[in-house]
Symmetry: C2
């Protein structure tokens, strides 16, 4: 598929993340109020103000939940109408009035997160983490090749790109300690993920094909992780406070429709899947992903490059599995793919893997080293699907690490 | 504390769950529309219709979230005003018009659940389950005496008492099987718990004392559990689909204020707690709890009796721990205590424990045996705090097990 041209000139550049082919959905604040917007080149279309066939009822609340709830026919009609309005020069005069410069806008959460689930579904990530903790022979948990393993996360902790993240406190116990202590996290980490947004509700089991149709779009997702808190807390009921400090998402929802030309299959199965998890077609997308780290006041270094096709399970398979028990799914549910790592050492989606548990530091362009995150570090995820002469970009998903707060007296004891 | 008398005569009976001392909050449907109500004797006060100093803005949506959000001063003022209206005969004529018979009402969810967290915090339950799985020496996980262990559950699966619960499908793998299969749960179970409802939001860490003040009230909670699904899925990231079929709650929120006379301390610590978890006063409540099982068409047998004071950690400690990482808490968050078991064999809050992993069946009054739940079984939880001449009851938390749905073709393969 080739570039679709817009009368917004900046949308026709091969470098823009936001050509007419993309049309991602966000919420922005400019001039003091929050509104729903569509990115086009270096502009944002104030979509609730346009009229011209765009139903204002869909844009009443500054969140994309109402559009999602309206269903796939409305999704398709909205995309078609936006494409028309932004390509046909006849609409230019009327529509141009409602373009806002991205530079002058502050991005807000694009939707209300109903519930947040995080998965563990990249083969290399599971192999790496398992090897560090249990040795190479026992790296994969016995269920890993059969189940898209997931756990419920905390929706209240999901924040939009740009929100600073404060280093957490928690219970820590080193291998030499007899008792735990309450301390600030010393092994604070990122996880490079893609988030899938559930756009339609379900009751009862849904198939992989139905699950795929329920997904409205995708965001980049950084699941900030406190490795030392997790090590002490996670047995037997899984990660809890280690994952509850913050999860950052990129501000633009890239729709499944925009990603359609980039579909690619999941890898060859190492163990046959149960019938309910089999896919009717390619369910991943070819999306290049990268992680960059900038120390406070310094320049950034790209520390990892990978691709969403490294997933062993697709979001559709994860969503299908999520419903097997009869669990109701709701508009606005967010599914984290799990950390995405490739085979190469520089394609690992976490510092835990990149520094191999802290043993081999990552060297930044400045010469500084990182085993885990330092206060002041800014992490930025980027993602792009590459067409012949255009790119579908996600925009940046950034967050700076702030020092831990002072310990209150009652906690210091 | 003694019975407070109401002009609603049925509220003065020593047998009622709902004397004037209680005043629990629910949502009911009668005559076709959903409304907020307060239980008094065998009646419900249609609280949004009364006026007389009760602010109708608090009762606009049929859910108690707005009252919770209004804060502790409003909670106290509302309780004081309701007490006045229902005790002073001068108000009788005006207020009586707004009483509805409980018999004629259908109870609905009393509040919108924001997020749901479930804990693992009763000493005997942890000991029993650990002994079955790891032997008596390794029964308690190493972190258990230091952390109120919790995991995030699924808010969308919380239902009100009376809602039938459908036996789930899921991945199962017996110890002899080489590969998992997709089957309906054969070890479907209940968990007797108390649910604490977070009535005030927080950002950042809160102390146990602050956490205690954030809790609006309590409900009975049955965390339906698929033991065979859990056994295969839960390592390494905890329970997921095994806990996502349904969690039933009783329809009346019994306020912390009503339970105040029944405060009782947590048990002696077996290992000193870290300072942040130490309690400034008694944080549990003396609440008798029971589980009854009725086979389809049969009479019920009480299969377990225990008490909320069996908890090792209070809801306030759990909520405090929940915030250590900076996790924001929101109005309407629901915290399950974890299964509550006592020392005696008949005080265990799950069939897993009562039948000791299916080895020793529970014998019902009819002579029938139960290792796990059968289709058609109705489970009912009850709870009551006993004053000198009155009781603070929770009403029943019931649910009937329905057979698994037919497996769709795409899942049968």
């Amino acid at each position: 598929m080739a570039l679709m041209r817009s009368w917004v000139e900046s949308a026709n550049s091969p470098e823009t993340d936001f050509p007419l082919n993309n049309l991602p959905y966000g919420v922005f604040e400019a001039g003091g109020h929050a509104r729903m917007g569509v990115a086009i080149g270096d502009r944002i279309l104030d979509v609730g103000a346009v009229g011209h066939g765009l139903d204002p009822a869909l844009f009443a609340e500054p969140a994309w939940n109402a559009v999602m709830a309206a269903g796939p026919e409305v999704w398709a009609a909205l995309r078609a109408r936006l494409t028309e309005l932004l390509s046909d020069p006849a609409h230019r005069a009327a529509v141009e009035l409602h373009l806002v410069a991205q530079d002058s806008a502050r991005m807000l959460m694009p939707f209300r997160v109903s519930e947040y689930t995080d998965f563990y579904a990249s083969r290399h990530h599971a192999q790496n983490v398992g090897t560090m903790f249990r040795g190479p022979e026992n790296a994969l948990p016995p269920n890993w090749l059969s189940i898209p393993i997931g756990y419920n996360g905390r929706a209240s902790s999901v924040v939009v790109s740009g929100t600073p993240v404060t280093r957490p406190w928690g219970q820590l116990k080193g291998p030499e300690d007899t008792l735990p202590r309450f301390g600030s996290c010393a092994r604070f980490d990122l996880e490079l993920e893609l988030g899938a947004i559930v756009g339609q509700p379900s009751e009862g089991m849904v198939s992989v094909a139905e699950a795929d149709r329920m997904i409205f779009g995708y965001v980049l997702l950084n699941d900030w992780s406190a490795r030392d808190i997790q090590a002490w807390e996670y047995l037997p009921l899984g990660p809890f406070q280690a994952k509850a400090t913050a999860t950052s998402i990129s501000p633009w929802i890239v729709t499944a429709a925009a990603l359609e030309p980039f579909r690619t299959p999941t890898p060859k199965r190492e163990r046959p899947l149960l019938p309910y998890l089999r896919e009717p077609g390619p369910m991943l997308y070819d999306i290049d992903l990268e992680v960059a780290l900038a120390p406070e006041g310094g320049t950034e270094t790209v520390i990892a490059c990978t691709n969403y096709r490294e997933m062993y399970y697709s979001a559709a398979q994860q969503l299908c599995h999520h419903t097997t028990s009869g669990c109701p799914m709701r508009v606005g549910d967010l599914l984290g793919s799990g950390t995405i790592s490739g085979a190469a050492p520089d394609s690992r989606g976490s510092l835990l893997e990149l520094s191999w548990g802290g043993k081999t530091p990552v060297v930044l362009a400045s010469g500084e080293e990182r085993r885990f995150l330092e206060d002041g570090d800014t992490l930025t995820l980027r993602g792009v699907a590459r067409g012949e002469d255009y790119r579908i970009g996600f925009g940046a998903c950034s967050g700076q690490v702030r020092p831990a707060v002072d310990l209150p007296d009652w906690a210091a004891g």
